[in-house]
């Protein structure tokens, strides 16, 4: 009986992700005094890409790259409870799901690296090199923050961590362990593919990086993941640091607000080069994470 509910979660989250990313893009466009894309543009782009009549492949890994990427997003979403206290939307969460979530966050990028490498395009290789080095540096403070939270609540189950934060805003990890949250939010900026940490895609220098050779349904799968993965990742953040969500409206609002953190930073700051962003993570975010672990 869990599987249909999990599929429903997936359906809701993909649609929400498609609409929300378009909305955030519109907000970004308003900052530039434009109107930006229509809110349903992501759907049309996806239909268009699935509807292309020709496509070419570069080999088996080229096929599997987008599959790995999408399964990273789906896995992350399905092994973490979406709605706290709901039997239906607890998905497949279990006692040690926090460790699995950490693994899934990185899984998609690695799959993508294999797929993009097989496409043989030099820009893909550059993008992947940059992406992996930046991701590694950004994951470090997040991992430290997760350790701090796990130590604080003495559990590796996301459900129990959410349960420990109930009973008012002041019980959230945001207030009980602000250092860990600060380190994790810095890492969050790094993993959202928005400025100042979007050198991986870098549309002006290395035309869109890893997916340079991807098109048609390959690209459409990656677009699906583009909508799904940030939401799945924010669900983890919401559960660990911001008290989780008790209902779908609360879920939508919290995810949107957490996403807007990266959007706000993104429209204000210019882009870091890779060595600058790695240095930034190591100097500012990692010490905060270490401090959070030590003080817990």
């Amino acid at each position: 009986m869990r599987i249909p509910w999990a599929l429903l979660t997936l359906f809701i989250v993909i649609n929400y992700g498609l609409l929300m990313t378009a909305l955030v893009q519109k907000i970004g466009a308003r900052v530039g005094r434009r109107h930006g894309i229509p809110i349903w543009q992501n759907y049309i782009d996806m239909i268009k890409n699935y509807a292309l009549r020709t496509s070419i492949t570069h080999g088996v890994m080229f096929y599997l790259g987008p599959v790995f990427r999408l399964s990273g997003g789906v896995g992350l979403l399905l092994f973490v409870p979406s709605i706290y206290g709901s039997e239906m939307f607890a998905n497949f969460s279990f006692a040690g799901d926090l460790i699995l979530a950490l693994y899934f966050v990185f899984f998609g990028t690695l799959g993508m690296a294999l797929g993009a490498a097989e496409s043989g395009h030099p820009y893909s290789a550059i993008g992947i090199t940059r992406g992996l080095s930046q991701m590694t540096a950004a994951e470090l403070p997040f991992a430290l923050a997760v350790f701090a939270v796990a130590l604080q609540y003495q559990t590796l189950s996301v459900t129990e961590i959410v349960a420990a934060q109930q009973g008012g805003v002041l019980h959230w990890t945001l207030f009980t362990n602000p250092l860990a949250v600060a380190a994790a939010m810095m890492s969050f900026l790094g993993s959202m593919m928005r400025p100042p940490f979007d050198v991986v895609l870098a549309p002006q220098e290395i035309p869109i990086g890893p997916p340079t050779e991807y098109h048609s349904s390959f690209l459409a799968m990656m677009q699906t993941n583009r909508a799904l993965f940030p939401v799945a990742k924010i669900v983890v953040y919401m559960n660990l640091f911001f008290g989780g969500a008790g209902s779908w409206p609360e879920f939508f609002l919290k995810v949107f607000l957490i996403y807007m953190v990266s959007a706000f930073v993104g429209v204000v700051f210019p882009r870091f080069r890779v060595e600058q962003s790695i240095r930034w993570f190591l100097i500012w975010a990692v010490p905060l994470g270490i401090l959070a672990v030590v003080l817990v």
């Binding site: 466009a29 530039g32 005094r33 434009r34 109107h35 930006g36 894309i37 229509p38 543009q41 049309i44 782009d45 239909i47 268009k48 509807a51 292309l52 009549r53 020709t54 496509s55 070419i56 549309p203 035309p207 869109i208 997916p211 340079t212 050779e213 991807y214 098109h215 048609s216 690209l219």
Partner: protein
């Protein structure tokens, strides 16, 4: 033919001798084929509507007309409202805007980029240079009629056409796509030999395979 494209024997670091034929090893030899419209009429209609509302332009400015495309991204014209976006790679784009005069040297790159785009794909000729050569009508190194080398869907006349004219042209292209008449990719595949003969008649240093996938 360039030297690096010729068949040759290469010695690998471990002493093995292997034969390399770049045109066969690095490129696919199969030519383009005519692709039938999908499934039933109603699905093809939905697809055509999606294609018309999601025009991804290849970011390749071939001539001076490229300067008229940039304002379309700015707040004043904001083409994103109409589902028009720019992609930096031919694989993901489905609209090629030939912006202004096309020198023979650029034509070579244009052909390679066009053939790397995945069908259905559309070509818009921007400015009078693509129609009859325009002010370069007697130039020795520009082409006169774009239609001889690539299947063109819409021409936008003018020298230069303003960004508003471009927007109007894109709207016209959308109508053609929705009517199912924008079959440039199939036309190119069906008359492949004719197009190749025309292209080779102006490009004298042809140093690439006949079809770049």
């Amino acid at each position: 033919m360039k030297e690096e494209l010729l068949k040759r024997i290469v010695k690998t670091p471990d002493g093995q001798e292997i034969e390399i034929d770049p045109l066969r090893d690095y490129y696919c030899e199969a030519g383009p084929t005519v692709q039938p419209p999908a499934y039933t009429a109603i699905i093809e209609k939905l697809f055509n509507w999606a294609r018309s509302e999601s025009l991804w332009i290849l970011g390749f400015g071939t001539g001076c007309g490229a300067i008229e495309m940039r304002p379309l991204m700015t707040p004043r014209f904001d083409a994103y409202r109409y589902g028009i976006q720019w992609r930096p790679t031919p694989r993901q784009s489905n609209l090629f805007v030939i912006s202004g005069y096309l020198s023979v040297k650029t034509l070579k790159r244009v052909i390679r980029s066009y053939e790397q785009m995945q069908g259905p794909k559309y070509v818009v000729g921007l400015g009078s240079c693509t129609i009859n050569g325009g002010m370069y009508w007697d130039s020795y190194n520009t082409i006169k009629r774009l239609d001889d080398y690539l299947p063109v869907d819409v021409y936008i006349a003018g020298c230069m056409p303003r960004p508003e004219a471009l927007l109007a042209g894109f709207e016209e292209l959308k109508k053609i796509i929705r009517a199912g008449k924008a079959e440039g990719a199939n036309q190119y595949a069906a008359n492949f030999d004719w197009y190749k003969a025309n292209q080779k008649s102006v490009i004298h240093d042809w140093d690439m395979p006949d079809y770049n996938w």
